[in-house]
């Protein structure tokens, strides 16, 4: 078994070297050695200053709003005696956006609240325009709410509920226990969640490109894209990427500092250690109504708008329901099938490789206590934390003229960015699995490899399925990396949807988004059923 782990580590190390370490090293070297770049002029230009400010605003405000809302909502759902069906339905509805790329929600909100023509304008003509930085923060907050709720899920599953009970017995009101007991205890997780959401929002490309750019507001990622696609200024793109990277590293270091000595969050459900639940008061019921409202506007409304838009022959007439756009997309857009096939192939192969490496590396770390396995997982976490724009740029620079315009470069990018999902899901699941089962197999004459294949792998089936899903879903409709790396004949779903939405036909973009979303939700539902609710959203 040790030999299998070692050989997969060699493969893993090679992948990391060719996909992350070498490209990043060359990228830094090239950027720092551009001679004709006036760095002072670049960083003192109002355009770059505004983009940096907008990036920071987007990142910090999104993180602040979504962390606070997620914490309050999670506490209300956890603390009071609600119908389990309602809690389950709300929890699933609010976390579902995490399964879909944020730019799908930007597309949904454009359909809902675009100036003059948004579907909601018939009801609320004075609704503010969705375009601009405020609209971008709004949509990113609603999407990140799901991310934040998943991050905080572990906290509430491990929280010692008897502390709240003790406070209530001493005469404190539920609200007092929330502010004096739960919040102080949750502070490190809250700060960690805030920083993780801010890193994710800082790297966002699709939502600011669709909502902020039309209002002439740019963030660093959209400026980098513009530098490459419109200005063909690789030097400027490189320096802006470095700035983005520095901000990301600062945020991640802060997160590490806050979480030092604490266990990282894992996407695995556990048994809750709840306090005695309270009967909902009027205020709690009002708060619950607010949560239901948020669930509707965060998940249901934008998805419904996308579905409606995909069935409209004429976008300005909500009664013009037809299948015209579906027929058009699948019979007349040659890129549609190519993109579907490319995305399925890269996502599927990338997922299988990531899951295999994740499983073997997690085994190496949890069972064989190999330091090299921990390093591999750590390197993958770095890849996950890096903004997609930087991964794409460094791969472009490193592989210029060789595998650019092939699916290999996209596969590399996806593996580096999303490979961590597999190891992150499989490590806690493997650690939770008692070693005695394997030892019993050894005592009965099985080799370590046989014990791994016949005991560990079958017991980890739900976790492996979860790892496959969690890595496959973001790869399938990835945008930030794809938009920079797709070439001739290597169009992917994310890049095609973005191009159709921005350049040609928003209705056709909605059709593809609906198809991808449907496939993702069906797979997630199947996973929940197979794992009896332990995995999936």
């Amino acid at each position: 078994m040790r030999a299998l782990v070692r050989s997969s580590e060699i493969l893993h190390g090679t992948l990391l070297a060719l996909g992350l370490v070498c490209p990043l090293a060359l990228f830094f070297h090239k950027t720092l050695s551009f001679e004709n770049t006036d760095i002072v002029a670049l960083f003192s230009s109002p355009a770059i200053y505004n983009a940096t400010l907008n990036s920071l605003l987007l990142s910090l405000l999104t993180a602040l709003f979504s962390t606070i809302l997620a914490f309050v909502f999670s506490w209300i759902l956890w603390r009071y005696d609600w119908s389990p069906r309602l809690v389950r339905a709300l929890s699933i509805t609010m976390k579902t956006p995490y399964l879909l790329p944020p730019f799908f929600f930007a597309m949904g909100w454009i359909a809902l609240a675009a100036p003059s023509v948004g579907y909601l304008r018939a009801l609320y003509p004075d609704l503010p325009s969705i375009y601009g930085m405020s609209g971008t923060v709004f949509v990113m907050t609603l999407w990140s709410l799901a991310f934040a709720m998943i991050q905080l899920q572990v906290f509430f599953s491990q929280f010692p509920g008897h502390l709240e009970d003790a406070a209530i017995l001493c005469g404190a009101s539920p609200l007092q226990t929330f502010f004096r007991i739960t919040t102080p205890l949750a502070r490190p997780q809250l700060v960690s969640c805030f920083l993780l959401v801010s890193v994710s929002s800082l790297a966002a490309f699709g939502v600011p490109a669709m909502l902020a750019s039309p209002d002439r507001a740019y963030v660093l990622t959209t400026r980098i894209y513009q530098s490459i696609k419109s200005d063909q200024n690789f030097s400027q793109a490189g320096w802006l990427s470095l700035l983005l990277l520095v901000i990301t590293i600062v945020l991640l270091l802060l997160q590490r500092l806050v979480m030092k000595g604490r266990h990282a969050a894992a996407l695995v459900s556990g048994k809750a250690s709840r306090p005695a639940v309270l009967r909902p008061s009027f205020h709690a019921k009002s708060a619950m109504a607010l949560i239901c409202f948020f669930a509707v506007i965060a998940s249901v409304l934008p998805c419904a708008a996308l579905v409606l838009q995909s069935f409209l022959r004429d976008r300005s007439d909500v009664t013009s329901i037809s299948l015209e756009k579906y027929i058009y997309v699948f019979s007349q857009i040659p890129d549609g099938w190519i993109a579907l096939s490319n995305s399925l192939l890269t996502a599927s192969v990338g997922t299988i490789i990531a899951t295999f490496l994740g499983l073997v590396t997690a085994y190496g770390m949890a069972r064989l206590h190999l330091r090299s396995s921990s390093w591999m997982i750590e390197a993958w976490n770095i890849g996950f934390a890096l903004p997609g724009t930087i991964i794409a740029l460094s791969l472009l620079v490193f592989y210029a003229g060789s595998i650019t315009d092939t699916l290999w470069i996209l596969g590399f990018g996806y593996l580096i960015k999303y490979g961590a999902f597999s190891a992150r899901t499989l490590s806690p699941a493997l650690s939770a699995l008692s070693k005695e089962l394997e030892e019993a197999a050894w005592m009965n004459g099985a080799s370590p490899r046989q014990a791994f294949l016949k005991i560990v792998v079958p017991l980890l089936k739900p976790a492996i399925a979860a790892a496959l899903l969690l890595a496959w879903v973001p790869m399938l409709s990835e945008l930030t990396i794809s938009v920079l790396l797709v070439g001739v004949g290597t169009e992917t779903l994310g890049a095609l949807i973005y191009r159709l939405q921005e350049y040609a036909d928003p209705g056709a973009a909605a059709v593809l988004a609906v198809v991808v979303a449907l496939a993702t939700l069906i797979l997630n539902g199947a996973l929940r059923r197979v794992s009896k609710g332990s995995f999936g959203i």
Binding site: V117, I228, R315, I333, D335, L345, P462, V488, Y503, A504
Partner: protein, 331 residues
């Protein structure tokens, strides 16, 4: 789980076992719409049955960015390029990227529509006009000229494409900045006009009344009017902007003789008829005009002037025009 893995393995096997292409491949980078590409693809496959035609379809400026980045690594994959930014072809010619081919098919073209050294020739002439939604503006209230678009009644109502993405929009910006000056764009910006995407994106905004007035290609309006006759066009008083859109063979093509035959095909009667189906004006004056549009001779008569001096002046100023437009309209 078993089924999931089997499904993924089956799919990988399917993709891995896909039949490999036989015969030579011709890559065509084109800024045509999907339906035009499909029409050309079918006709070309019928005409050249042993050739694999592969298309890269995007906005002219996106194709320019793509080719430029490919050239950084040595050569472009394209065998033929058909976009709407003639000024960029001058760049490519200067870099030696275009194959000089004195095609007999282009010998009858007017001198301003073909390169004197045969590096490119114009195969179609899109026309940029003003479109409006007649539900929002009656014929009397509709703008009559480009200058009208800066009037208060059109505040926050006007959309145009982005010259950073669309070649026809770049030519329009170049021509209007010469005719009306950059002040026109400053006033347009002050009047809340937006510039984003390509002509389809502008047309979608007009159709949904998000922006009921737009500077857009005549071919988009003709196509839209078939399903929505409420969209109307105006030929601006200053003159419409005709956008000579060329075709060229790259010097790095691995099949020069085949590429020349395909090049000639685009100027053949059949090749030009495909353009008509896409509501484009072909380059030959005797060809019929798209539905409801004036023929090419009349179209050119009401267009802003076009000659080789303008071509070379705009070519020299290409980057500055983009920068100037960006600073006025996009920042």
């Amino acid at each position: 789980m078993k089924y999931l893995v089997s499904l993924v393995a089956l799919f990988s096997l399917f993709v891995g076992c896909t039949k490999k292409e036989q015969g030579p491949t011709i890559w065509i980078y084109a800024s045509f719409y999907n339906h035009v590409v499909q029409e050309y693809d079918a006709k070309l496959k019928a005409k050249f049955p042993n050739v694999n035609f592969r298309w890269y379809q995007s906005g002219s400026e996106n194709i320019a960015a793509k080719v430029n980045s490919e050239l950084l690594s040595g050569k472009t994959q394209a065998d033929l390029i058909l976009t709407a930014d003639l000024f960029w072809y001058e760049d490519l010619k200067a870099k030696g990227v275009l194959l000089k081919y004195p095609s007999p098919a282009t010998s009858s073209l007017a001198p301003q529509f073909r390169d004197p050294e045969f590096a490119w020739a114009v195969s179609r002439v899109p026309a940029m006009v003003i479109a409006y939604h007649s539900d929002v503006y009656g014929d009397a209230q509709a703008p009559k000229s480009f200058s009208d678009l800066v009037q208060p009644q059109f505040k926050n109502k006007v959309a145009m494409g982005s010259p950073l993405e669309s070649g026809t929009t770049f030519t329009t910006v170049a021509q209007l900045s010469r005719k009306l000056g950059w002040d026109f764009f400053k006033k347009l910006r002050a009047n809340g006009a937006i510039s984003a995407g390509g002509n389809s994106a502008v047309m979608a905004k007009i159709e949904t009344k998000e922006r009921p007035v737009g500077i857009v290609l005549l071919e988009n309006i003709i196509a839209t009017r078939r399903k929505n006759p409420k969209i109307k066009w105006v030929f601006p008083k200053e003159g419409i902007v005709s956008v000579p859109s060329p075709i060229a063979i790259t010097s790095t093509t691995s099949n020069p003789e085949l590429a020349k035959q395909v090049y000639d095909y685009f100027f053949s009667k059949e090749g030009q008829e495909v353009l008509l189906k896409g509501d484009h004006h072909g380059i030959f004056a005797d060809a019929p005009a798209p539905e409801g549009a004036p023929d090419l001779t009349k179209l050119l008569a009401i267009s802003l002037p076009w000659n080789s001096t303008i071509l070379h002046e705009v070519h020299r100023e290409r980057d500055n025009i983009k920068k100037q437009f960006t600073s006025i309209m996009l920042e």
